[in-house]
Amino acid sequence: MDYLIKVEGLEKRYDGFMLSGVELAVEPGSVVGFVGSNGAGKTTTLKAILGLVEPDAGSIELLGEPVAGPGARERARALDAVKARIGVVFDTCVFPDTCRVADVGLIGRAAYPTWRRERYEELCRAFGLAPAKTVKELSRGMGMKLTLAFALAHDPELLVLDEATAGLDPLARDEVLDILRDFMAEGDRGILMSTHITSDLEKIADEVVCIDEGRPVFALPKDAICDEAGVARCRASELDAVLGSGVLEPGQARVLRHDYGVDVLVPDRFAFARALPQVPVDKASIEDYMTLVLKGEVR
């Protein structure tokens, strides 16, 4: 299997919103971060991948099985088998308030043929989740850990996370990231992780895919953003010289003006520093890169 997830030309139309031409791929052994502003279409894309909404066009392959596109309807049963190999985490603890931690295990046992009761109990113990506690008694962080324990106890090959770390404090987020690193330590597993907290992706992602207003914006290895790219901090008076230096391709530069100067997105900060040593250039974070690409003026 070349890809755990392969999305090509995904389209979905709603009143006032359209997802168009979305491309996305998760290879075995990789963590793909999925970013974009609110309403960009991330959740709709994830829903389409998980077979929760029917795409209007495009193809989606999940663990090698087509779940949309030609022939997908006939493969509804195959989708079920595929879903048994995936773990999903939403941005809240989804289980009803009255469920106890042990009850959630009963649901998992009934749902997944590969459910491992001992693994679930071991994860619950490791996360400090008492079996008799009800969902409504859990804090947000503990609720997310319960959802993660549920998602991991059937040994999935793929995790799909939709804002799984949103609303968690930094310590809890780090704990969740540790759990995800442990998950990735075994075999050819993969994670697709939609999030607004781009600093989490800097710690764990291999690739970052960005969409905006339903359209793809960029899909790059994380290292191309966090190691190679940079943000040149120049004065307004230096901008023309920077743009005319030949280091940046005309029509490809992204420029963001602010009160104290101008930020310019630089794809290769080392080459830029060699060409224009007098202009300071910082490493780009995923947030910097995304902000400049989405909000920057094209020059």
Partner: protein, 237 residues
Amino acid sequence: MKTLVISDLVTMRSALLQLAGICAIVGAFISIATQSFVAASAATAIMIPLMFLFTTSAYDETRDWELFRLTLPVTRRQVVLGRYASILLVALLAVVLASVLGVLLALAAGAVAALAPVPLPEGLVPHEGFVAEIVAGAAVSAVIALVAGAVTLPLIMRFGMTKGARLVPVVIVLLMSLGILLAGDDGPLAGMLTGLEAWLFQGANLALVCVAGVVATLAVYAVSAQVAVGLYERREL
């Protein structure tokens, strides 16, 4: 389908236990107010499945549970059929619970009557065939609950609990109006109803009607489930 039945039952376990206690207390009051144990068991048997239906449907809309459930290895068809199966199961359990409650209340009242100087009303004293009356009352109520479920569930599956529950009264009023139109004084079925009561109590007619009623209800329930499957499979969540 098993996944859905189990998830419904574990979700509702504490609520069902609470409701069983509430039913015992309410049942005692209803028995005294109506001077009949049949009314108490009938109320219990209808209250439990309907409460189960509306509460599980409400939980579906809480915190994306309904959406998340579809990420499990279950089809939409299984989700719907699982909900119908769990309500049917709870209706059967409610008949058992309501019957036991009614019989226990009747026996307790009988014991009190033997000791009390004031005679109790006839409906509150165990008499010949009182167990059958209590069980039949509970069964009829459960059947009514299933018919209500058959009307309500397709709407909830199509529109969700919030919007679906708003449409339920509209559909019930329409069905009642249709019934009045057909069986009212000038309706085409008016003549058929004349003498129905006398006919019912001839020979085994009542038993036959009861059996036919249960079979018809289960058939309506099954048709409703198929309709709900079709509606839920087309619903955008």
